[in-house]
């Protein structure tokens, strides 16, 4: 039971980070191969605060999320102002993420590559659930606000967006900061669940897994990436009985999704819209 509980908690924590990346990639149309770095910033900031300075747990979580948002400005301002094309931006963030990891490996306060052991394990299922529910609520409000509409407009057509009054640089930067805040929160929860963090946990592999969940789950969808994220965390664990084959199954699943549903599980739609379409009076197509 404890084992299943821990998988559910881990999946929930991962879903928060995926939710953030979905706003950035799925809704703003920018790709990132470095969002694990923002998870790392959140994890280390909150862990250091509770470990060395005995800061209140919730305060430390908020500080971790805020720190991730601020760090994202360091990479976001120069690259997004230069209007780097999406794929170049992904590489720039990749480099940034790796550099940050090397920094964590060499700092005194992070205890270097050995990692920080003995962090209090505050994170429980209700807390993760609340954070995730709050995160979904805020993400939905964000997407229907002027800022969210601007993000989606940029994804659809940056030139048309600008002539419709969207501030390109500011909107992209805001989207990055919002996504980094989600990742930072996820990192704080992770650190206080595992009670041990080390730089090796936040590599390109983690960034890729976040991006894979967003793309397999579907661009422009909140529910799709959340489902994909849950499956990607739970499936390898569920398949532990077939030790040797579980990573093969994981890879196969990804390939199958991309071949048979290139738009992802829920590309540009939400789970809720299925029910709405059946009962709704309009019957029109909604995105």
């Amino acid at each position: 039971m404890d084992y299943i509980l821990s998988i559910v908690i881990l999946a929930g924590i991962n879903m928060i980070a995926v939710l953030g990346l979905s706003i950035f990639t799925g809704f703003t149309g920018l790709f990132s191969l470095g969002h694990a770095a923002f998870v790392a910033v959140g994890a280390y900031t909150s862990a250091i605060l509770t470990y060395y300075y005995y800061v209140d747990y919730y305060l430390a979580l908020a500080a971790g999320a805020a720190a991730a948002g601020i760090v994202s400005l360091i990479i976001g301002v120069p690259t997004l102002r230069a209007k780097l094309r999406s794929d170049y931006f992904a590489i720039a963030v990749l480099g940034f993420g790796e550099a940050l990891r090397v920094l964590l490996e060499n700092l005194e306060i992070t205890n270097g590559a050995r990692g920080l052991p003995g962090i209090d394990n505050f994170t429980t299922l209700p807390i993760v659930f609340l954070c995730l529910a709050g995160g979904i609520f805020v993400a939905r409000n964000f997407l229907r606000s002027r800022w969210g509409a601007a993000c989606i407009a940029i994804r659809e057509d940056p030139i048309a967006a600008e002539t419709a009054g969207v501030r390109l640089f500011r909107t992209r930067l805001l989207s990055l900061v919002v996504s980094a805040v989600y990742c930072g929160l996820s990192g704080g929860l992770l650190a206080h669940f595992l009670s041990f963090i080390q730089p090796q946990m936040f590599t390109l592999v983690q960034s890729t897994q976040l991006l894979a969940a967003v793309i397999a789950g579907g661009m422009g969808s909140i529910s799709g990436p959340l489902i994909a994220s849950f499956v990607f965390i739970a499936l390898p664990e569920a398949l532990r009985v077939a030790q040797m084959w579980r990573l093969v199954a994981y890879g196969l699943l990804l390939v199958l999704i991309m071949v048979y549903r290139p738009q992802g599980l829920m590309g540009y739609s939400e789970v809720a819209s299925f029910f709405r379409r059946k009962s709704g009076p309009e019957g029109g197509r909604r995105s």
């Binding site: 606000s145 509409a149 057509d157 030139i159 002539t163 419709a164 009054g165 969207v166 029109g284 197509r285």
Partner: protein, 261 residues
């Protein structure tokens, strides 16, 4: 009518792309309330002028004044806020969004509200959203698109996509509307109803219109004055009759008689 004030005034506008001079010290003005047409052979630089006026390109030299204020070289989103909106030759819609959302996007960008309030979904924010939804619906109705409000933009037929683009441009509440080949790909019947629509839009929304068009009957029917461009420069300007009678214009379009025979 001829004494109405100058809305847009372009002087000595020049744009180089590498070694190519796309627009060559081009000058013209648009008077308030007019439907001004820009015509010219392919590659004359008409769309480049639009891109310069709306901020997609930065001029190499020259001035663009709107209501007396220099706007040349500003970002597109800044120029939109001055009151210049446009459509594109090859339609640019937010394809995977509904018609309503296409129109709602510029409306939302004009609104000021607190970020925190919006994230928490406060009642005041919801009220503002409802008001904007109503506004978007009335804009769609004005262009006969209200029945398609919940359809994705990409699913609309071509002619309606053009209308939706005009609706989205009007949502920025412009005083000058730039239409880049609004009749492209339309049959004579559709072109005729488009002419009526443009006149109607000018009346209802109180906008001045500047349009690029290749359909001569449309331009000759509704535009006055007409500005003729050739090789990036001004060739002629005047009423439809004057332009049609101008030998330079005939030469630019049809070539010289000597060469033909």
């Amino acid at each position: 009518m001829s004494e109405s004030k100058v809305l847009l005034s372009v002087a000595g506008l020049t744009k180089d792309f590498g070694g190519i001079r796309a627009v060559d010290s081009f000058s013209f003005e648009v008077r308030e309330g007019s439907i001004t047409g820009i015509i010219g052979p392919n590659g004359a630089g008409k769309t480049t002028v639009f891109n310069l006026v709306t901020g997609l390109y930065k001029p190499t030299s020259g001035t663009i004044r709107f209501l007396g204020e220099e706007i040349g070289g500003n970002r597109p989103d800044v120029i939109v806020r001055h009151g210049i909106a446009r459509t594109f030759q090859n339609i640019r819609l937010f394809n995977r969004r509904t018609c309503l959302e296409n129109v709602l996007t510029p409306l939302l960008q004009r609104e000021r509200c607190s970020f925190l309030g919006a994230m928490l979904g406060l009642p005041s924010v919801r009220r503002m959203e409802r008001a904007l939804h109503d506004k978007a619906h009335s804009l769609l109705s004005a262009l006969g698109l209200d029945a398609y409000a919940s359809f994705e933009a990409s699913t609309l037929p071509y002619g309606l996509q053009r209308k939706l683009e005009i609706a989205r441009a009007l949502a920025t509440e412009p005083s000058l509307l730039l239409l880049d080949e609004p009749a492209a790909g339309m049959n004579p019947e559709e072109t005729h109803s488009l002419a009526n629509l443009i006149a109607e839009v000018r009346e209802k929304f109180n906008v001045t219109i500047l349009l690029i068009e290749h359909h001569m009957d449309l331009v000759m029917n509704i535009c006055s004055p007409i500005v003729v461009m050739n090789f990036g420069a001004l060739l002629a300007t005047g009423t439809p009759e004057a332009v049609r009678a101008n030998p330079e214009v005939v030469k630019a379009y049809l070539g010289e008689r000597k060469e033909k025979r």
